[in-house]
């Protein structure tokens, strides 16, 4: 399963991804209701979106004491079963990115569901930091960008 791929150098910190995620999933706009989170360090101009990468060997599934975190058979996304989740936050600790987030109202964890194969955050990211290719692998975009930079420097020589 291919996750949303991120090129952090391109992120401009506009938070459109957070807004569209919370609006489409929860019907209101708030960064705290979003499944994708933008982290910023403005003094060094670094902005970075963080979202679930649907690991091949997900530590959140291994650690979940109630079996709420599991891979959905049809789509291969790693999701939380809200009925089973007790909000123990183990998955937040186990995840290398700490990508699962706690829903401020239900107090259960939630992660990216790839909007049923058409992630809206990749549509609104006009900076090109987020992209989604169902078949390709995550690094395709990044590899392409690097190849282009290389090509440009070779040509200019």
């Amino acid at each position: 399963m291919s996750p949303i791929s991120i090129i952090p150098e391109r992120c401009t910190g506009c938070q459109s991804c957070e807004m569209v995620c919370s609006l489409s999933h929860e019907g209101s706009c708030s960064p705290s209701l979003s499944r994708i989170r933008m982290k910023k360090w403005e003094e060094i101009s670094v902005f970075m979106p963080i979202v679930c990468q649907h690991c091949e060997k997900p530590p959140c599934v291994d650690i979940c004491p109630t079996g709420a975190r599991k891979r959905t058979p049809g789509t291969d996304t790693v999701m939380t079963d809200e009925k089973r989740c007790v909000g123990c936050k183990s998955c937040l600790y186990a995840c290398p990115y700490s990508a699962p987030v706690l829903h401020p109202v239900t107090r259960r964890t939630m992660t990216c569901d790839l909007c049923h194969g058409h992630p809206l955050c990749t549509q609104v990211c006009t900076a090109g930091a987020l992209s989604y290719k169902p078949e390709g692998d995550v690094s395709t975009e990044k590899r392409k960008a690097f190849a282009q930079t290389l090509l440009r420097s070779m040509r200019s020589r």
């Binding site: 401009t12 569209v20 708030s30």
Partner: protein
């Protein structure tokens, strides 16, 4: 409560260190549909005559629109109003600030925030999801803006906090000091740094996590997606994205520079833009904006926050500096000290041209006289001003570029004027649709026209101009001018965004 709004006004009394909330009447929200109108109506209700900018009662008002803090593209602007030290005689003035502050204010649960009083010691205001605290800022006093922002975020242990702060220039109550957040976005042309300095408020730090509700989420989402898509595909927009807000540079005719005494040639403009371009490395953007017209600077191996090329122009060719590196150094000094680049530019131009009274001493001027490079000279002068003790500045405030009522309309709804008016990427009917989907309140053309009209009247009354009130032809022009024309054109073209989404 109407959807899209929070319906709350935060009142802060710095003298008593008390904060309380007030309900904003629903009729007011419906009538003014935005920050600028809310501010103007607050001032008209409470201040029949202007107060002195330095007195404790003088309020600083921040307000946002119904679409701030939502997905609506280019909606991240905040309206700010106060009795300004820059207007002569001191009177009502307003400005707008792009960036992320408005969205955070809305997220904290407020549509409007009004600061009054005067603190007895330096403090900063900490607004955490609706709760307000007055925090001691004596350890921050004297620090530059970057240090202040980072120190507040580290103190609270959350880098997502937005801090609107002043620098040493504001603390020294220079009238051309401003406020800055995310080291990039500033509230200019109002003397906000002076007002914060008088009130001894170092910063306003906000963490806003409350959701902004929307009347019809599905429709609102579709409208926003269609708009973003259209803005992204536009050719002019692509140019703006690649070249920043100075994309029209190098055009024919040149531009007036140096205190209106000279012209800038297109070639030198291009040369300057190219020399500046080598220091720009990545983009930054306002809240929920698809344009990303700001740039981040990398100079001598370190990053120094963002630059908006319009400001760079004022610290570049506008004062005769054609070396990009000196422009950056000037910009960085302004940013660190918390100075308004527009007013600094006007002041520097005056001093360097020798027009009018100079705030510098004769010795200071003589020392900078021999410097041949204009940029270095400007830097030396500015350094002496910010580190000296002289007062008594005289400078002309460059007017807000607001000559069309579409600008006013965009400003009232807290939209980006560049996108709405200069690029015409968002039409009036788009804005009406967005407000309808967000608040569930369908506006008519008459409502729009009346509101623009009323706000301009209120503002002119506050500024004691009496211009619109006693002059029916100009009033007629404002109401019957551009907006009606644009609407008629739009109706003809039938370019309503709802049609696009359905097709």
């Amino acid at each position: 409560m109407i959807k899209g709004w929070t319906g709350k006004r935060l009142r802060v009394d710095l003298s008593l260190q008390k904060a309380w909330t007030e309900d904003i009447p629903v009729e007011d929200l419906r009538q003014w549909f935005g920050g600028r109108g809310l501010n103007a109506s607050f001032f008209s209700q409470h201040f029949p005559s202007p107060v002195s900018p330095s007195c404790p009662e003088n309020p600083i008002a921040f307000a946002v629109g119904p679409l701030t803090g939502t997905l609506a593209p280019c909606s991240g602007w905040t309206s700010i109003a106060s009795f300004s030290p820059l207007s002569d005689p001191p009177g009502y003035a307003f400005t707008r600030m792009p960036g992320h502050f408005g969205a955070s204010l809305k997220g904290a649960g407020f549509d409007q925030c009004i600061l009054q009083g005067k603190a007895d010691r330096p403090l900063y205001l900490w607004i955490d999801d609706g709760k307000v605290k007055f925090e001691d800022a004596s350890h921050l006093w004297g620090k530059e803006t970057t240090e202040t922002t980072v120190a507040i975020q580290e103190e609270k242990g959350d880098r997502s906090i937005e801090a609107l702060c002043i620098g040493p220039a504001g603390e020294r109550q220079l009238p051309f000091a401003n406020v800055i957040h995310r080291l990039s976005w500033t509230g200019d042309r109002l003397g906000l740094g002076y007002l914060f300095g008088i009130k001894q408020v170092k910063a306003i730090a906000i963490r806003g996590k409350r959701p902004v509700t929307v009347h019809d989420p599905r429709r609102f989402l579709n409208l926003c997606l269609a708009l973003k898509d259209r803005i992204q595909k536009d050719r002019e927009m692509k140019r703006l994205k690649e070249e920043g807000t100075l994309s029209p540079l190098g055009g024919e005719g040149g531009r007036i520079i140096k205190n209106s005494t000279g012209w800038c040639l297109p070639e030198s403009e291009k040369q300057w833009a190219a020399s500046l371009g080598t220091y720009l490395f990545s983009q930054e953007s306002c809240f929920s904006c698809p344009v990303h017209c700001g740039w981040n600077i990398q100079h001598q191996g370190s990053t120094t926050g963002g630059i908006h090329l319009e400001k760079a122009w004022y610290l570049g060719p506008k004062i005769g500096v054609y070396n990009g590196e000196w422009t950056l150094k000037l910009h960085h000094l302004c940013q660190a000290q918390g100075l308004d680049p527009f007013l600094t530019s006007s002041l520097l131009a005056r001093i360097m041209e020798g027009v009018g009274d100079s705030p510098l001493s004769v010795e200071d001027l003589r020392e900078t006289d021999d410097i041949w490079e204009q940029g270095e000279k400007a830097f030396a002068i500015l350094h002496r001003i910010t580190h000296g003790s002289k007062n008594g500045f005289h400078f002309s405030v460059p007017p807000l570029s607001e000559n069309e009522d579409l600008d006013v309309l965009a400003d009232i709804i807290s939209f980006c004027m560049i996108v709405v008016n200069r690029l015409n990427l968002m039409t009036v009917s788009n804005m009406i649709d967005l407000i309808d989907a967000s608040t569930g309140y369908a506006l008519s053309i008459e409502d729009l026209r009346d509101t623009v009209w009323n706000i301009l009247q209120m503002e002119s009354r506050l500024q004691n101009k009496g211009f619109y009130l006693n002059n029916p032809p100009s009033l007629f022009r404002m109401g019957e001018g551009q907006i009606s024309e644009i609407l008629r054109r739009e109706e003809r073209n039938n370019e309503s965004i709802s049609h696009q989404t359905t097709s």
